[in-house]
């Protein structure tokens, strides 16, 4: 097996992992801060892809779609939190889970009614069509762009959480919401923003995945399963965990595809089983966490 092939394979794995990271991130942030297991995450990923496609065709530019869709769908997420999820805080964890599960069906069916159940083409932005010669082989420009963009989003997110005052409130709110309220912080507004951020990240994942896959109403269901696997391996609620696990899964799938391609999908579930056996709380999870 020659080295250039393995390098190319690693790179495909990182690109695949990047999409996993961005989708799992929204799921894990919402769970970590709000204790809500968002089963509508996959459907919102799909809505993001449709919104991106719609906005791109409206404005004539992929870039507007990429910028506006996450903002718009993030705002829609805040509406969902404000109208529906807010009422369920303090109740059993099953309640928001069931609510979002039902919501995902409504969203998928709504898209089927509006856009039809057939797939719709999502053209790759013209600047990123084609392949780039990396010396060891050719790699699609668009996938390189996805890796770079996800890296940039992660840096911005990390800076915002670790270096800003808002980040400080968010981190403290995740640890002890009651004390935060006593200190005079309107924790409801923080949760609203966090849910919006989580949904916005799902939508961003959807827009990024659009040009790599065809856009259809069911595209979110597989993504939801993958995102759950990533968050379980990384540790529920852990941002670092989501990043490490996402890349780990992407690279594992890619390297397994090289030797036993038919096992490529199973490998991520095998990884999850192993992690659960050895470290049930996930790689970066907190032991015995109850929400």
């Amino acid at each position: 097996m020659d080295l250039s092939l393995i390098i190319m394979q690693l790179l495909s794995g990182i690109a695949l992992g990047a999409v996993l990271v961005i989708t799992a991130l929204g799921l894990t942030i919402v769970f970590g801060m709000l204790g809500v297991v968002n089963f509508a995450h996959g459907a919102l990923f799909m809505i993001g892809a449709y919104a991106g496609l719609y906005l791109a065709s409206l404005t004539g530019s992929f870039w507007w779609g990429l910028l506006l869709a996450p903002i718009l769908i993030g705002a829609f997420g805040m509406l969902i939190e404000f109208v529906l999820i807010r009422r369920l805080y303090g109740r059993s964890i099953d309640d928001p889970l069931l609510l979002t599960f039902g919501l995902s069906y409504i969203l998928v069916e709504a898209v089927r009614i509006v856009f039809g159940s057939d797939g719709i083409p999502f053209p790759t932005p013209p600047q990123l069509i084609g392949v780039l010669d990396l010396g060891v082989g050719f790699f699609p420009r668009y996938r390189l762009f996805v890796i770079a963009l996800v890296a940039a989003v992660l840096v911005v997110l990390w800076l915002a959480l670790e270096k800003t005052r808002i980040g400080l409130i968010v981190r403290a709110g995740a640890r002890d919401p009651t004390i935060m309220q006593v200190l005079g912080v309107d924790i409801g507004r923080v949760w609203l923003a966090i849910f919006g951020l989580g949904v916005g990240l799902a939508a961003l994942g959807g827009v990024l995945a659009g040009p790599m896959r065809s856009v259809n109403p069911e595209m979110g269901s597989l993504v939801l399963a993958e995102a759950f696997v990533v968050t379980v391996i990384g540790g529920l609620g852990s941002i670092v965990g989501a990043v490490v696990a996402g890349l780990m899964i992407g690279i594992s799938i890619s390297l397994v595809a090289l030797f036993a391609p038919e096992m490529a999908t199973i490998v991520m579930f095998a990884l999850m089983a192993v992690v659960l056996l050895i470290r049930p709380e996930g790689l970066f999870g907190v032991r015995g966490r109850t929400v």
């Binding site: 092939l5 057939d118 797939g119 084609g130 896959r213 069911e218 595209m219 391609p261 490529a264």
Partner: protein
């Protein structure tokens, strides 16, 4: 919990069987009145799930076939009714719905199914109850002796026919061929067909990669496929897998190095990813509306479909719904009713031409002998209008030579 749930199910089934038996007894004195009874055709198809688009086209065309017969006064004065059921692309669901169609709705025959596993499940039920089943799935395992019964008919093309026709147009002696194959019955059947054809032509196999069914990402297979340096890449998968695999292969620059070939090129998937992605991809098909310039039957079918569907054109899978139901109704017409043995006999003798030229069911395995189209996806600038998707590279007229022999399938000759 599941235990207590399954017990009443069995009793219900027993009750159903009992009901059916008593209904049959009651029906006996009514034989004389059978002439007025409507003819009911059961039609299981995956209305929900990844093949929903294809299934909807099947239903539209099956309804059209029924309407055309009813407009001419039905069969022996009896109206025909189509009972569409969603099989959800699930073998268990399909078996339950088919059983219901037979025992509760008392259908006279069943037409339909799209996936290979669902087709087997439907066939299992109809065979056990002696009900005629005309399959329109592109997989043909039910034609092999072990699953076959005299009630089993296969109207669709089979993997052997399409891969042979596509290989003839695209492979040459000494060419290097690589395969990307969906890891389930359909993919394996197509791979077997391609390998048989490439051996006959003298092309070399340089590698096969099996991918999981329903995968969303194919990028991890691309570097290895490209390192095999083939002249032709055969992608044997179905539905959205086809669209996603081709799209991602194109992203990786595969088309600059090799030609992409598929066993069956899908109308709806070409629409789903656009002309640039599919440009130059070659694949087989049972039907393409553009055939109307070569075939009067195609022109008539297109016109009837357009009239019934606001000017839309029929698709490949739609045509199966039309010819599957149409051939059955033609045989019932000859048989003068719904007597199963007479209809089976009529189907075996039937010569029909509904969408694209003469077809008939081969006696030994009830496979429909028919023409195979080989299509090439047009580039955007060459398209005259939005419906102008493909160029017809070949239209191989049907002959028994296209099929695997009766003895190869395990039938007595």
């Amino acid at each position: 919990m599941p235990k207590s749930g399954s017990t009443p199910k069995i009793t219900r089934r027993t009750a159903l069987a009992g009901l059916a038996a008593s209904a049959a007894l009651l029906a006996m004195p009514r034989l004389g009145r059978a002439a007025e009874e409507t003819i009911r055709i059961g039609f299981p198809t995956p209305l929900t799930g990844p093949f929903a688009a294809e299934a909807r086209d099947q239903v539209k065309c099956a309804e059209l076939a029924v309407k055309l017969v009813n407009d001419k006064g039905g069969i022996g004065g009896r109206k025909v009714e189509l009972l569409v059921r969603d099989d959800k692309l699930n073998a268990g669901e399909a078996a339950t719905r088919t059983l219901e169609l037979i025992e509760k709705d008392k259908v006279h025959a069943v037409v339909g199914a799209l996936s290979s596993a669902v087709q087997l499940a439907v066939n299992e039920v109809t065979r056990a109850r002696g009900v005629i089943y005309v399959s329109i799935s592109q997989s043909d395992t039910i034609n092999e002796a072990k699953d076959f019964s005299k009630y089993t008919f296969h109207e669709a093309l089979n993997p052997h026919m399409t891969t042979a026709a596509v290989a003839r147009q695209t492979l040459k002696k000494g060419m290097k061929v690589a395969h990307l194959v969906a890891d389930y019955a359909y993919g394996h059947e197509m791979l077997r067909g391609f390998k048989r054809a490439q051996t006959a032509i003298g092309a070399d196999n340089v590698g096969e990669i099996l991918h999981p069914f329903g995968a969303a990402d194919y990028s991890t297979f691309m570097p290895r496929l490209m390192s095999m340096r083939p002249d032709v890449l055969c992608i044997s998968n179905f539905g959205r897998d086809q669209a996603n695999a081709i799209k991602q292969a194109v992203d990786f620059g595969v088309k600059q190095q090799m030609k992409i070939v598929v066993p069956v090129i899908l109308h709806n998937q070409r629409l789903a990813v656009g002309p640039d992605v599919f440009e130059g991809v070659v694949g087989g098909a049972n039907y393409y509306w553009g055939l109307e310039t070569q075939s009067k039957s195609a022109a008539a079918f297109n016109a009837a479909f357009k009239a019934a569907n606001g000017g839309a054109i029929p698709t490949d899978y739609g045509a199966y719904g039309y010819s599957g139901v149409g051939s059955l109704l033609a045989a019932m017409q000859t048989a003068g009713g719904t007597d199963t043995d007479k209809v089976v006999d009529a189907l075996e003798k039937l010569q029909y031409d509904l969408t694209k030229g003469p077809q008939h069911y081969r006696k030994c395995d009830h496979q429909s002998v028919q023409s195979v189209l080989v299509l090439e996806s047009k580039k955007k600038s060459a398209m005259a209008n939005d419906n102008d998707l493909f160029a017809i590279l070949a239209n191989d007229s049907g002959s028994d030579d296209m099929l695997r022999s009766c003895s190869e399938l395990g039938h007595a000759t």
